[in-house]
């Protein structure tokens, strides 16, 4: 389908496609098997300037938007979602600074992130605060020129590998979600340590760790925005970056389709290639149709966000809900078409199916996405 991408957007897609073919696809099985953090690929992405994509030019980036980020995520995910989530988590950790940071904070952190010299991460989730994000218990108490952080963040992507962390913590427990604030915490700050690296079902090359704060003192200049807007910062960040995760699902499904097409045209049963059987053809037709529908929705959501629209929660949520459910179905069907071979780790589709599951869960479960969509839908109808 024709999405009328600009020359620059096509260029980005080509560049990342090349990186995926040459650097990611040949190494993804090993990275997955050994749960090895993809530093070498991060270096390639850095050298290709991709970390600066959405960072304004005055801080060393390209000042591009959500759609360009989606194109990068889609192409990377065609190769490996563990790699793409590592890239995406840096965006998640960076957007709070971009959206609400002071000039000093931007100057201090964005150029290094744009050059890929430092990865970033975002810490919101806790053991008792997942879908109920307002249930966080990590606190930040002001003490003179510092804030003192205490608490534990859970399942933080890039934890331990990133150097810049955006942390949501309570500055006023009595105010509930209005008492949360966002902070920048640098790796190696005394009192800031990491828990064990989690063993995961999929996206296994990405690093997921606990962030532990024990009387961790950070300068008061590291507060993002002002006290009490922590959840606004978090929600705005997630609304903008979520289509990147939707694009991850599209790319993953595209990768599964490509592998399945190639396999079904070679695999022979009953004396002919399995792609000549209508049962397989119909599955392939459903796969490609669903992928294209999801891609159209994701690009439309990204363009809506890039247009500066105000209420983006619904489109952002719709794109993630639809694309991730689609990717789960497409990758499951891919394994089915591969049959017994698909269940073996020698072929790429079982990994894709494992990777697909997380996209229905993270960046807000698909159940929470439905809540968001329904809530805004009803609000809109009431306003009419």
């Amino acid at each position: 389908m024709e999405y009328f991408l600009t020359d620059e957007q096509k260029m980005i897609k080509d560049l990342v496609g090349k990186i995926t073919e040459e650097k990611i696809i040949p190494t993804r099985a090993e990275l997955d098997e050994e749960e090895k953090f993809p530093w070498e690929i991060m270096k390639v992405l850095a050298d290709s300037d991709l970390f600066g994509l959405y960072i304004p030019e005055e801080y060393g980036g390209f000042g591009m938007g959500c759609l360009e980020n989606c194109l990068v995520m889609e192409e990377l995910s065609r190769g490996c979602c563990g790699v793409s989530v590592t890239f995406a988590a840096t965006a998640l950790g960076t957007y709070p600074i971009l959206l609400h940071g002071t000039e000093e904070q931007k100057k201090k952190y964005l150029p290094d992130i744009a050059r890929g010299k430092r990865l970033a991460a975002f810490g919101l989730t806790e053991a008792n605060a997942g879908s109920d994000a307002a249930g966080i218990q990590t606190t930040a108490v002001k003490d003179g020129d510092h804030y003192v952080l205490n608490g534990t963040k859970q399942w933080i992507t890039n934890g331990g590998e990133a150097e810049v962390y955006t942390i949501i913590a309570l500055t006023d427990k009595s105010k509930g979600s209005r008492g949360a604030s966002a902070f920048i915490v640098e790796k190696d700050t005394p009192g800031f340590s990491f828990g064990k690296k989690e063993k995961k079902m999929g996206i296994r090359c990405s690093a997921t760790r606990e962030l532990v704060f024990e009387d961790c003192r950070i300068p008061k200049e590291n507060l993002i925005g002002k006290e009490g807007i922590g959840f606004i910062v978090a929600m705005r960040t997630l609304d903008i970056t979520r289509p990147g995760i939707s694009a991850q699902a599209v790319g993953l499904a595209q990768g599964a389709l490509e592998a399945t097409l190639e396999y079904s045209r070679q695999r022979k049963q009953f004396g002919q290639t399995i792609s000549s059987f209508q049962a397989i053809q119909h599955m392939l037709a459903d796969m490609v149709t669903q992928i294209e529908a999801a891609r159209a929705l994701v690009y439309a959501a990204a363009k809506t966000i890039d247009s500066g629209a105000k209420n983006i929660s619904k489109v952002s949520a719709m794109s993630k809900l639809f694309a991730s459910d689609m990717a789960m179905k497409v990758t499951t069907d891919a394994v089915q078409i591969f049959g017994g071979y698909g269940y073996m780790r020698e072929y790429p589709v079982e990994k894709m199916m494992r990777d697909a599951k997380i996209i229905q869960i993270y960046e807000g479960t698909n159940q929470i996405q439905r809540n968001v969509i329904a809530l805004q839908l009803i609000k809109e109808s009431m306003a009419r």
Binding site: M11, L15, K18, K23, D47, F62
Partner: protein
């Protein structure tokens, strides 16, 4: 350091079709790429610039669409691209090619080092680099697998030979041709691609170079390709029977009959 890298755009396939009428390559309908060996030359030029500073210029000779190869080189980080393009250059063999490149380099003026790939993927001769050095009257080292150092107007390189490598020191200016063992070419960067998109490519025609048109293109090419064909493989094999000493006797007899020993 002023570095010049010579590259060639070649068909991006190993199944090259030959025009039976002219015995030249059919380029239509085949995606063109930078000759893979030349990408190592580009990468080495960039690495040397990163180590010792300076500027890297790349030259190619070809039809107008060869400009794409220069833009790809600029996307990798090359500073400037020069395209030698003229109908008069068409059909050139290595001698005519090296002459055009020689005149272009003379026109550029100064340089410290010229880098070429060891050979092209389509022509496979490996002659252009050495011929160019000969015309320029500069020293050259072929099959370079490592640039060790550059100082005091000299370059020290490791040159691949059949059973190892030799270390060669050469005064500059000079020319080297490189093998794929020398490096791993980088992918383009986004900044490079954007620069490449709008970069101005210098185009020089035969008259810009002031060349004698009887020395370029088909007219300047003593090589006449009469026919191109894949030779038939005629390999016969025979398994010798019997115990070891009788097998040895049979083998010696056969080698004598074949006048090999």
């Amino acid at each position: 350091m002023e570095i010049i890298v010579c590259i060639k755009q070649v068909p991006g396939t190993t199944e090259v079709k030959i025009d039976p009428a002219t015995n030249t390559l059919i380029r239509e309908g085949v995606e063109s790429i930078i000759n893979p060996f030349d990408t190592y030359a580009l990468e080495e030029g960039l690495r040397m610039k990163e180590r010792w500073g300076g500027k890297v210029t790349t030259i190619t000779m070809g039809p107008p669409q060869a400009e794409k190869a220069l833009r790809e080189a600029i996307a990798m980080g090359i500073d400037e691209g020069v395209l030698l393009s003229d109908r008069a250059f068409a059909g050139a063999d290595t001698l005519a090619t090296s002459y055009a490149l020689f005149r272009a380099i003379e026109k550029i003026g100064s340089y410290d080092l010229i880098i070429c790939g060891k050979q092209t993927m389509d022509g496979d001769t490996g002659q252009v680099g050495p011929e160019l050095a000969e015309r320029l009257g500069t020293p050259f080292v072929t099959y370079v697998k490592k640039v060790e150092e550059v100082n005091d107007g000299h370059i020290k390189v490791e040159r691949m030979i059949e059973d190892g490598y030799e270390v060669v020191e050469m005064p500059l200016p000079g020319l080297i041709t490189v093998v794929k063992e020398i490096n791993e070419p980088r992918l383009p960067s986004l900044r490079g691609m954007m620069k490449a998109k709008s970069a101005e490519i210098t185009i020089w025609t035969a008259s810009d170079l002031g060349v004698d048109t009887s020395k370029v293109g088909l007219a300047g090419s003593p090589t006449q390709v009469v026919r191109i064909f894949a030779p038939e493989r005629s390999r016969k094999s025979e398994i010798l029977q019997g115990d070891v000493s009788s097998q040895v006797d049979q083998l010696v007899k056969k080698l004598r009959e074949a006048k090999i020993v």
